[in-house]
Symmetry: D3
Subunit: 240 residues, 6 copies
């Protein structure tokens, strides 16, 4: 059984699609993640997650969109940020096409959790569900995994490229994680719309990447798979 | 001293404006708030707050925008929701004009705290600060006051038109609050982009409006004034 | 009986709305009006008018939009001009929402009478009535009151912030009108699309503000109320 | 000497263009004009006028745009109305290109005088002059010729496809004018944004086409040439 | 019988239009064509062709749009290039209006054959046919006539303002063709999106304009008429 | 040495980027390709090619965009077509970001060769190079490989999902190619903008997929690598 939709032929897809089928749409980013994590960090995580969930649930993955809107890290080398309007447009187009082909359930997993980024995605989905016969669940894996912050070994102020994120990447692509790791506890002026947020976290990481442990990453990743398997069931069951 | 910018003449404004001056821009909404609170609920609160803060700090208020983006309550009678693109456009235009006139500090207070609504405002501000010489602080009063949820008398799951919001309106416009008050503890399917969220809270209120007390509202409102007076100082002091 | 729609609860609005009800939508501006009138001049007049007409006819007022498109005064301090595209977008959104809620009759009163501004409003309304079941009447109070120019005591070339406008504001908000008043009789090059119209009327006023009299303002304002009461009847009666 | 810019070669144009040169841009429409005048009525007039003015002043004409925004006649057969946004876009593009090539003076003559149509043109010009080194004068020939209404033989309520317009076309293209001519004196409900204005003038003409006389048309056309020759001089002389 | 649609009255058009009628829409450009051909070259050809085809087939021509998108010649004096978005918008508007009036068959002939230009036209047509009951055939006359390149007397690398195009203009408007004619065989770097393509063909012509012969032009033009007469039949016969 | 840009850290990218470096941007599609090739066909080819070229030249690949504009196959199951406006927007955003980071040379390889699709990409690139200091080469691998049609064993009318394309996929992902293969030689009505092109090639393939041979595919793929290695050198050498 294929987990990637575009490895099917047209005919295979036409035969596969049915009311109880689920499409997973992973959205990543090309974004600075400290000096120890790759720019692909926010793509690697939701794609790995999507693959595990697909295998467990029979859901099928459409090609990941590996570009997102990344405001606060834009000034670091390598961040490729697309406008929220662009992100909304492409998500709208893709969801409309899925609906046109009879897809009823779509799970969007965004590795990047920036506010404007997520709002663009949800706003796109909102526009589509308002007029098309399709259900969309949209979240970041960090909506779930950041709930651990302040519990057990997870520091309260861990964040972007911090202990949690670094651990998770160590568990998936250890070859891409650098040994030397540093983070800031940024002191952003509250509620300011910053022209250059990078001034407040010169390392490009927030929290405690040096405390990252591959095993914790594995545990978190596994936990996420379990949670998303449940979410897939909820998505299929919701009546709209 | 006038607290509303548009009560000044052109000349008065020209003489008033200076690098250390602060403009407050309240953004409200026309939105269903249960069967006990007026549609203006999200306008009444930030305007009252803006007036108190203006009096305390010498800041000046530009005309409130009393329209916002209200997705989840759109299906109740009376909600007037503008598209996020429209909201972004008008905030961009107004901020650009303020920057053109030499305003350096803008505090946007949004009474409505919906995700897409706030993202549109912050996104607009982000576009303007990227190219114009102006600083923008943008938040909802509920970013601050909801921190009390789960503390003291405030229930953890209080929300839209609930105990806190009802108390605050009772303290400002008691004449507009109905006696009979009911709320739901909505059980939204997680992370779903809902076509019609209203199905999950038929009363149009979330939480415990029946526990609302005018005195609590006064206390919350006063607390907010103190907090926003501090925020105005922070805004003026931030170097960009 | 409430005259402001957003002082109603959702339920009250749902019970009020009916085919023969009329919504009034006042549109103002933040615009330089000489050195003697407040920036709110174009908001003050239509709002006062709307309130009187609402009281007389049972119509209900939605929150005024106090921002407009102001090309010719943009270079004076304090004018906040939104793009015509933005103005069109917000008027479209609001009218669509009213139509969605079953409103059948909308009267838009714009205090500002600039050509591009009015065209944006009428164009928005045209787009909405083409597809939604709603009737829209849209005008500036100055479409009516400027008919007096050249008659009786009203000079033919009176205009922006001139005798008529100053008299009307004196009758509503005398506290906001300065004693010292001067106007120009601008000599615009004909039909030029000017980069900076303000060069041609350095006082920021056109006409004879020094001849303004509160009593004339009262008379004009009362006349307008009578005329708009008739317009509300026409609006309700038009079959579309 | 060529009067049409696009009959020049690139080199000829490059040699011709200079600070004191004037480009005329005629804008027409494809619009119903009663049952006696051709759909090209609003193109024929400004093009004829542009040619005469070009011959008299040395100005050069760029290709006429024979499409405009025609709201009130849209429901009659043959009216091709482009959106005001489209009209604005093409006028912006053309003016920007002219400015790029060093053109300093542009006279736009619109045969159609609809409010939204003219606003789109002026709004486009306003956006361009705000940032480019170019001067634009924009008007309809009817801004001038309708001043005769109510004087001498010209009825006060003559209008679209009426006595004046019919006379003018008779003087230019008599072969395109039908013998049988009828007009209405439409009784539009005041200030209504009409879904279908054609209901109020079933003949598609307003005024007195039956009184049209070729000789009057010639006189009006000649008068317009003289007036526009003066306008060209004003345009060249205005300092911006 | 009139060949230009806008020489009809509204009534005549209403009587003419029927399912088997064909509208021809010529699209030209204002574009540099060497130092020997006029800027109108791409308008002259499709308009002449449209007129001949209309006479032969009973098709009717709507006003030509004499503006197009011209990227590669933008840096030569006189080229007026409109954005592809603008071109798409106006073609969409015009086609929608034609469909609204009951036109079923539209033939778009574009004199300009630039890739982005043609894509904008076809893309516009695609959007309209997707939702309206209308058929559109769209091509450049050069899609047909360039097939001769490399055959008989036609050099393989003839192109813009070259032997073929010059011959054709000589056959239509010999008065506008200069004696002195030069062309380049440009050596564009392959597949580059050039900022300034004009660097590679300083004469502004590609190919062999000096070999142009009026008689060849006549032959080509006649051939095109025959081909387009056949295309009109195909257009009418296609079932969609 | 990494060939994928987003496997670098921010710091690595910052150190890598220099005037002589080349970024490759592969653009694919989710598009029906007969009943024998996967929907990913147009992604698989340019990505494989990009990887080989990157290894040979030291160029670095940014995340492929696996969505394109696919008009003619939209009606087959599985095609996900994004609007050309959306495609343009995302290409513009990505190129602007690359330019912002100091990238000077970008090679876009599009697996899909649809006219509107390619025009959107080139148009996007044109807008960016007009204002940013970056060079862009953009082509489809089929711009090169289709030159073989009509030569040797390659049929003249081979096309979409035909012998050439099938051979190439057999050489890269033989596991995704079905045994049973059929193609049509579609007889499109010439120059029609078709509402549903799929009517003319019911197999969803054009040409001779049954003649496909893995070895030919290898040969074509290798040839393409050589050609693109040369193109990279040209791109680096072009002076703009």
């Amino acid at each position: 059984m294929k987990i990637y939709m575009d490895e099917m032929t047209s005919k295979e897809f036409g035969e596969w699609v049915a009311d109880d089928k689920v499409i997973i749409f992973p959205i990543g980013a090309v974004e600075e993640h400290g000096s120890h994590l790759p720019l692909a960090t926010d793509s690697i995580q939701p794609i790995e997650l999507a693959e595990q969930v697909a295998k467990r649930t029979g859901a099928v993955i459409i090609p990941p969109l590996k570009y997102g809107n990344c405001a606060s890290t834009a000034n670091f080398p390598g961040t490729i940020s697309i406008r929220p309007e662009t992100l909304k447009a492409i998500v709208v187009d893709i969801l409309r096409e899925l609906a046109r082909h009879g897809v009823k359930n779509v799970l969007i997993i965004s590795g990047h959790a920036g506010r404007t980024h997520i709002a663009a995605i949800k706003n796109a989905a909102g526009d589509v569900v308002a007029t098309a016969n399709i259900k969309v669940m949209a979240l970041s894996d960090y909506d779930i995994v950041y709930k651990f912050r302040g519990m057990d070994e997870f520091p309260k102020d861990d964040g972007h490229a911090g202990m949690i994120e670094t651990s998770r990447i160590m568990a998936i692509r250890p070859d891409l994680v650098k040994e030397e790791r540093k983070g800031d506890i940024p002191n952003f002026p509250p509620f300011m719309v910053l022209r250059d947020a990078s001034r407040y976290f010169p390392t490009g990481a927030m929290g405690y990447p040096e405390r990252a442990i591959e095993d914790i990453g594995k545990r978190l990743n596994n936990f996420l798979v379990e949670e998303f398997v449940k979410l897939v069931e909820i998505l299929k069951g919701v009546e709209e």
